[in-house]
């Protein structure tokens, strides 16, 4: 269509565009400079093909938006997003033709573009209705619903309605140029427009659309809708680390401060995360700490850091020596918030824009633990125990191998050519309940004639609890000690029955040069069953039983191992596997022990493990039959579930077990 700007209008439009984009750009540059207060972050570069795939899948295809239980609103969001991509093209075209006085972008006058634009614009209008209704009528519990959200939705609606008005008026006033396609909505509405107002409607629509869009450009970087701009780089620069691996601190002993002492010690990407948070609250919806009344709210972790940057960033920018408020002390409640985290990654899993919550929490814990020595006393005790006894419980290190006495399990010193090292871990070495799991695995491996050995007293804590409590130094000491021992025996393949041992050895030891082929016991057992290297007999009583499967966070969300434990359960005759829906698989609910929480007191709110037991019972009730057992693949889940059923007095009705125990009881030797 010929724009209504010929003459002075062209100049006015150019000026408005300069003001709108200028104001937006001004703010963006300021935000960019504040972001650069953060430290350098080399891991954000390189790996270009993966980053491009991420953009296509996570950004363009909006994949994380459709996760359970957000699929409907996810579709609404995706429609707004895809519609916007086309509307932005249309707006650009209007600006170009308006300022140039009738020159069109290539393809802009085609029928295909006209149809696409009108169809998607209509869908966006529908989606805006859905989004408004959701905020008004059934707001999600942790979404920040504020006036700003409605204003943005209204603005989008206005600019689309204006577009349609322009099309209708333009068609009625005969502004469609020869050879150009007639936009379908304009064609439908045009005949309804009286000739006397057609030109006015066209002009009002044109200026209304561009005016509201330019206002949007200026306002957007000052709102949470900044994510429209920042999601693109935020997805691009997401961490290439395996999810279960924390960021290593290199040259630890040469550092002057440890962890996030100031905003400068968080990486620029962590500040970009803050800009990108859309306050949707999906992280908080899924946080086990928040759900059970703890002071932690993962969304608040991200937003508080952003607010601190916006509040103190200018001062830090102007004075290179200024330190500002330590992020871990931004609020009096902040340390309690940080210590409540189980690092279960439910937040990270759900975030549609790939914000990395755990890294921020751990960086702040690092400051509290290493710099200030301000970890909770029970955490300090656990760390002292790891230092002195090589395990967080403070059991005598010399008794580490005693569980294996009389089982014919050799040590690597006795059998240096063993194919696998079974890294037993502290829980299965010292905790009586979990010693039965270690024995079960030994039984299975022996039945399958797998060549394996243990380290017994030469094994020491893998360091995971220390690292997640913020004690990077102790983690490095522990890891180096184990890596040295592995090296002495030329260990190449490692089996772990504890997902925390598995995760830290598989994903974190490579950071210190220790690369091994690491499997979790249930992965190996799944292979043994499917390759028919072990045969499972019927149950001794012949009775069928329902077994619920509880996903350990460090198997499931952190390492994507959802299927193998389920396949093992399914292979056991007479066992009916039950899902703890809807809190299963990637929405599995933490047992409460991760992130070093196993050794910290839990006095606020409901205990996480008690909530978990309630979920198991509720899932059973929903399918009309409560499970007889709940099986897991993690020693800490087992301890927590045992405590949970004990506290509820239902230890006879619902027995926590490890999947390995079920297999061992059936394996034919």
């Amino acid at each position: 269509m010929t724009p209504p700007t010929i003459g002075i209008g062209q100049a006015v439009l150019a000026l408005l565009a300069a003001i709108g984009f200028g104001a937006g750009l001004w703010r963006l540059i300021h935000l960019f400079r504040l972001m650069r207060i953060g430290r350098a972050d080399p891991e954000r570069w390189g790996r270009l093909p993966q980053r491009i795939v991420d953009e296509l899948v996570l950004y363009l295809a909006q994949r994380k938006l459709f996760k359970r239980p957000y699929s409907i609103r996810g579709i609404a969001h995706a429609l707004i997003f895809w519609g916007f991509l086309v509307i932005v093209a249309a707006t650009t075209e209007l600006l170009v033709s308006g300022i140039s006085g009738g020159w069109h972008l290539p393809g802009a006058t085609s029928g295909a573009f006209a149809w696409m634009l009108d169809a998607l614009s209509l869908l966006v209008l529908v989606s805006i209705a859905i989004a408004s209704a959701r905020r008004l009528l059934f707001a999600p519990p942790h979404m920040h619903v504020a006036g700003q959200g409605y204003a943005i939705l209204a603005l989008i609606a206005v600019l689309i309605v204006a577009l349609f008005a322009m099309e209708a008026g333009g068609v009625a006033a005969g502004r469609v140029e020869p050879g150009a396609a007639v936009p379908p909505i304009g064609a439908a509405l045009g005949p309804l427009v009286p000739a006397s107002v057609a030109l006015t409607l066209f002009a009002v629509g044109f200026w209304g659309h561009l005016g509201s869009t330019l206002f949007f450009a200026a306002w957007l970087p000052r709102t949470k809708h900044l994510h429209i701009v920042t999601t693109l780089p935020n997805v691009f620069f997401r961490s290439p680390r395996p999810r279960g691996a924390l960021r290593p601190i290199e040259g630890l002993e040469q550092q002057e401060t440890f962890g996030a002492a100031t905003l400068r010690d968080l990486s620029w990407k962590q500040h970009l995360d803050g800009y990108t948070c859309t306050e949707c609250g999906r992280c908080s919806d899924n946080c086990p700490a928040l759900a059970t009344g703890k002071p932690l709210d993962p969304q608040k972790i991200v937003l508080d850091l952003r607010d601190l940057l916006l509040k103190e960033g200018d001062a830090l920018l102007h004075d290179p020596k200024a330190t500002g408020t330590a992020p871990a002390h931004q609020l009096a409640t902040k340390p309690d918030e940080l210590w409540a985290c189980t690092t279960c990654a439910a937040c990270v899993e759900q975030c549609p824009v790939t914000i990395e919550h755990i890294d921020k929490i751990v960086d702040m814990r690092r400051y509290l633990t290493m710099q200030e020595s301000a970890a909770p006393p029970e955490a300090q005790r656990a760390m002292t125990n790891i230092e002195r006894a090589g395990n967080p419980w403070g059991e005598a290190a010399s008794t580490r191998g005693e569980w294996a006495q009389g089982l014919g399990v050799p040590t690597l010193a006795e059998k240096p050519d063993a194919e696998y090292l079974y890294f037993v871990g502290c829980a299965a070495s010292f905790d009586r309940r979990n010693q039965r799991v270690a024995k079960a695995l030994a039984t299975i491996l022996q039945a399958a004639k797998i060549s394996f050995a243990i380290l017994a007293t030469e094994e020491t804590c893998n360091g995971d609890p220390a690292r997640r409590m913020g004690n990077e130094y102790l983690w490095q000491l522990q890891a180096q000690q184990n890596i040295e021992t592995f090296g002495r025996y030329n260990v190449r393949k490692i089996i772990a029955s504890c997902p925390h041992c598995f995760n830290t050895i598989a994903n974190e030891y490579p950071q210190l040069g220790g690369a091994y082929e690491v499997v979790h016991a249930l992965q190996l057992v799944e292979d043994l069953i499917s390759e028919k290297k072990i045969a499972l007999g019927p149950s001794s009583t012949g009775a069928a039983e329902t077994v619920a499967y509880h996903d350990p966070c460090y198997l499931g969300r952190h390492n994507g191992i959802y299927e193998d434990p389920r396949a093992v359960l399914d292979a056991i005759d007479g066992v009916t596997r039950m899902e703890i829906a809807p809190h299963h698989r990637e929405r599995g609910f933490c047992c409460g022990a991760g992130g070093g929480r196993m050794w910290m007191e839990e006095k606020v709110g409901q205990r996480v493990n008690h909530r978990r037991v309630e979920q198991i019972l509720a899932a059973g009730d929903a399918r009309g039959e409560r499970p007889a057992k709940v099986a897991s693949g993690c020693p800490f889940c087992l301890i927590m579930l045992d405590e949970g059923v004990g506290a509820k007095g239902i230890q006879e009705e619902l027995k926590p077990v490890d999947v390995l125990e079920l297999v061992a009881s059936r394996v034919k030797g």
Binding site: T257, S373, P377, R388, A389, A397
Partner: protein
């Protein structure tokens, strides 16, 4: 400005399973993790808490022993003590240790000397009072808290079911009881600084050990027997069986 001197002892860590050596009079030191005796850690914590409040406080730490005991001193430095002294001397009895410490105390002139109330290896609780006697200073036992007072210091002394508040206008030796505040975990800057600190050594060569004490024999406690689970019968039968066992087997009734 106050100066505190904390006397510590290095002992086998409480997580270590101690084994008796073949001579039957000493313990095997192979594979033993050594750490600061727990009550001494509480003494350090008490001194450091005062330093948290009054940063110009100087907290010194001292031990008598061999080269290995430097690790304990470094641990104390990492926790936040300002300086450490090793008095070289092995095989000394408690009176010998007290007199080895005496000359250092006279030289360092602390306002207060703090010791744990007893060491976790021999549980004698001897060195603190003996040092007070050797110095001619007053001694206060079972201290759980200390604070500056108008003249000198004020101490909380644990008693059965409560506490007494004492004051000292001059120098004193305190033996410290476990208190609510757990000994602090060293910060990493503390550990790094402690690694670089010089630990001066003094000789205790001229120290006489007036009373010779000798361990005659060490024996591990007998292994605990297995428990018994009553399986057959109802509550009444259980009660009868239990009463019989308590009377005839355990002989406690």
């Amino acid at each position: 400005m106050a100066r505190f001197l904390v006397c510590i002892k290095q002992v086998p860590d409480s997580t270590t399973r101690v084994k008796v050596a073949p001579d039957g009079r000493s313990i095997l030191t192979d594979g033993v993790t050594w750490s600061i005796s727990p009550y001494d850690e509480y003494a350090i914590e008490l001194a450091l808490e005062h330093k948290d409040q009054a940063p110009d406080t100087i907290v010194s730490v001292i031990t008598v022993g061999g080269a290995r005991t430097k690790d304990a001193l470094r641990q104390a430095l990492a926790m936040g003590c300002d300086d450490a002294t090793l008095v070289a001397g092995e095989g000394l009895g408690p009176l010998g240790i007290a007199s080895a410490l005496k000359s250092s105390v006279e030289e360092l002139k602390p306002d207060l000397v703090l010791c744990g109330k007893q060491a976790s290896d021999d549980d004698q609780g001897f060195v603190g009072p003996a040092l007070a006697e050797a110095l001619g200073w007053p001694h206060l036992a079972q201290i759980t808290k200390l604070a500056s007072a108008a003249s000198g210091f004020e101490f909380w002394k644990e008693t059965e079911g409560g506490h007494e508040v004492w004051t000292a206008s001059g120098a004193a030796v305190l033996t410290v009881q476990k208190s609510a505040k757990e000994p602090r975990y060293p910060s990493l800057p503390g550990i790094m600084k402690a690694k670089k600190k010089e630990i001066p050594e003094r000789s205790a060569a001229d120290v006489g050990d007036p009373v010779k004490i000798e361990i005659v024999k060490l024996e591990p406690p007998a292994a605990r027997g297995g428990g018994k689970i009553l399986k057959d019968g109802d509550t009444k039968a259980f009660a009868q069986q239990l009463a019989t066992l308590l009377r005839d087997e355990a002989k406690v009734l």
